[in-house]
Assembly symmetry: C2
Homo-oligomer: 225 residues x 2
């Protein structure tokens, strides 16, 4: 029954969304849920949900649905959230501090355990029980504390530099909040959280009487040079 199919990024990206809602259901005491229910709540096609889950195993029961706590357990296994995952964060500006104070990860065994900043005036300050370290210590601390994921919340101009440091330190995954495209060698995964792009692209849909904007909407004069 073990099919060798590559799991697409889109599928993996939906798993945490399922997990989050299942946790809610569990807290409300709901014991069973159908793909229909999930689909309605999460605005997804039920067939897609069944297909996503079926990549990893037969978690449901025909005619019944999915056992909520069993499915939670399985998704946490799939995402490898059933064991501790250490995270480091670089850049203690507003956003960096916001993330340090965010506690969602805790429940999922994911925890920011080291914080860095290049600014000497920030070094030594304390954020949510963590003392800010100088960026120079990044490599040593990552190795020492078995850190596998890095979060980048520095200005765009410094982001690639920090990413390179993370890569050199042997990190396996990077979540980048800086508004710039980062490059890393094979084997290091980069997730881009580009909310400026999310926000600016929203503008496109504003005051759009003709919902389908086409070539006609922009006047194409000959190119100025």
């Amino acid at each position: 029954m073990t099919k060798q199919v590559k799991i697409s990024e889109a599928v993996v990206r939906r798993l945490p969304v399922y997990l989050r809602y299942l946790n809610e259901l569990s807290l409300s005491g709901v014991q069973t849920v159908s793909s229909q229910d999930l689909g309605e709540k999460l605005d997804l096609n039920p067939a897609q949900i069944r297909k996503d889950l079926a990549y990893f195993g037969d978690f449901g029961r025909k005619g019944v649905g999915y056992n909520v706590s069993y499915l939670i357990e399985k998704i946490r296994q799939i995402l490898k959230l059933d064991r501790p995952l250490h995270v480091a964060l670089v850049g203690t500006g507003n956003l960096g501090r916001a993330l340090c104070n965010y506690n969602m990860y805790l429940k999922e065994n994911m925890k920011i355990i080291a914080v860095f900043d290049a600014d000497p005036s920030k070094v030594g300050t304390v954020i949510n029980n963590l003392t800010v370290q100088p960026t120079e210590e990044l490599g040593a601390t990552v190795a020492e504390k078995d850190i596998s994921i890095g979060i980048i919340t520095v200005p765009a101009a410094e982001a690639q530099n920090v990413a390179d440091r993370f890569v050199a330190a042997g990190i396996r995954g990077i979540l980048n909040f800086a508004p710039t495209v980062l490059r890393a060698p094979e084997g290091v995964r980069i997730h881009q959280t580009d909310f400026t792009a999310d926000l600016l692209s929203l503008a496109y849909y504003m005051n759009n009487d003709n919902e389908d904007t086409t070539r006609g909407t922009v006047d194409d004069e000959p190119m100025a040079d």
Copy 2:
């Protein structure tokens, strides 16, 4: 030449990424750029870039490439960033304050001009020159100040409630940072910035010796009930 083709969300989402890099090029004094150059820098297929841009007009010149400042102008027109866009933000926690202090939007005519919080102890405080207002005033202020985009940075449990208020106030687009799926009627666009999902999905790729995880990786015992 006006083809009636619907522009996909993926295409629109890439436009701000192009715009950002073009602005960089412009600052460096670069006057012309090819889809090849753009593709290398942004990690995208050159053909895709040419196709994206061609949806909106003939912006390039064969054998030469794209004029940087002309393309900037055109993309800003397409995204409707050539005119002021007023934004309101609800939720002045760490993340909300981080966004208020973020100034990227300014350059693009997009500006947070009103901030709200349900917590009376936050009301009246000042963030980046904006006085925090009680959430009750949201409807009136949105109408009064011609606000078309709303940003939600409240806890998940309150997010839908805030979204409903925004919708009732006549807002056209919402950028949601709360880790929950929001619903809105047709005509109101919701962009989800789910960085907890981005982070948790990153875990999937950690310590993955077999890069393609399949049914085999998770032990499928019979379902417990």
